[in-house]
């Protein structure tokens, strides 16, 4: 009786492990494909699109994850093939420095203006 119980709990345990690993993998595939632009679609990510291109990219993500590559390695691989445009989240480098810094500069500038106004009113 006890033995049976052990076996059943072992099976449930392994099923659960398998299930949670599979779940984890699907989550990663979704996360990576949401951050990739479907280059032949209008305003769709690889995650959203059902085009042949997007389906192939998803197959590639699965293959790369199975090979043990990290998300960044997958992004870098695709960047070499298709250019920076394929990634939604642009990395901080000399080409994107203005893009990242202008909101910050405007924020500080605006903050200074408000600060000065408040001080002057007081």
């Amino acid at each position: 009786m006890n033995n049976k119980f052990n076996i059943i709990s072992l099976i449930i345990f392994f099923l659960f492990i398998n299930y949670s690993f599979a779940d984890e993998k699907i989550k990663r595939i979704d996360k990576v494909s949401k951050n990739l632009r479907c280059l032949i679609c209008q305003g769709q990510s690889v995650y959203d699109s059902q085009s042949e291109f997007a389906l192939s990219i998803r197959d590639l993500i699965i293959k790369k994850i199975d090979e043990g590559e990290t998300d960044d390695e997958i992004y870098d691989y695709l960047k070499v093939k298709y250019g920076d445009w394929i990634i939604y989240d642009p990395k901080f480098d000399k080409n994107t420095i203005l893009l990242w810094l202008i909101p910050l500069i405007l924020f500080i500038f605006g903050g200074l203006l408000i600060f000065r106004k408040v001080i002057i009113i007081k």
């Binding site: 042949e52 389906l55 197959d59 590639l60 298709y82």
Partner: protein, 176 residues
């Protein structure tokens, strides 16, 4: 007074900056294409020959040729049908090997496509799940690449069906 001048200067200079940013943006082509991503090396990949199903390495293809042309095609792709006569014309007038990459296709359909329209290819490779096309950096079908076969670098890319002008251009590029 001085403060006012500084303010005026700041406002004017930011207006000019914004104007020129948008003005330059107007002239910039915002249509993204990978056509300009050339001179990149195609990493070696393995595939299967279309008819014999024999395993082939990309690095071992046409070892005696200086250039090769790679054409990605599929029987379900309408523009490929349109481009096919130009591929045949290209093959007739050139000493370079034409390699076909059959993209996500069914064998029977592809075979009847070739028997109907003719087979211009020296070798046809299979790309069952589209992963080889991504390795090359392709969007889909049809796409044509002129490749330096010695260092495997892409010299020129044609997205979409090639026309007669492209055929002439490929012929003159591959003669050099």
């Amino acid at each position: 007074m001085v403060n006012k001048k500084i303010k005026l200067f700041l406002i004017l200079s930011s207006l000019i900056f914004i104007f020129f940013t948008f003005y330059l943006g107007l002239n910039k082509n915002n249509y993204y294409t990978t056509e300009n991503i050339v001179y990149k090396k195609i990493e070696n990949f393995e595939s299967y020959e279309f008819f014999s199903n024999k395993k082939i390495s990309f690095k071992n293809i046409s070892p005696d040729k200086k250039y090769i042309i790679l054409n990605i095609w599929s029987s379900w792709c309408l523009p490929c049908r349109k481009e096919h006569k130009n591929l045949i014309k290209l093959r007739e007038n050139i000493k370079v090997d034409l390699i076909g990459l059959n993209y996500k296709d069914k064998f029977e359909n592809a075979k009847s496509f070739l028997s109907e329209l003719g087979n211009p290819y020296d070798i046809i490779l299979k790309d069952k799940n589209g992963l080889i096309s991504i390795e090359i950096g392709a969007y889909g079908v049809p796409e044509t690449y002129l490749i330096n076969n010695i260092n495997k670098k892409i010299i020129k890319k044609y997205l979409g069906p090639i026309n007669e002008e492209n055929v002439k251009e490929i012929q003159s590029l591959a003669k050099q």
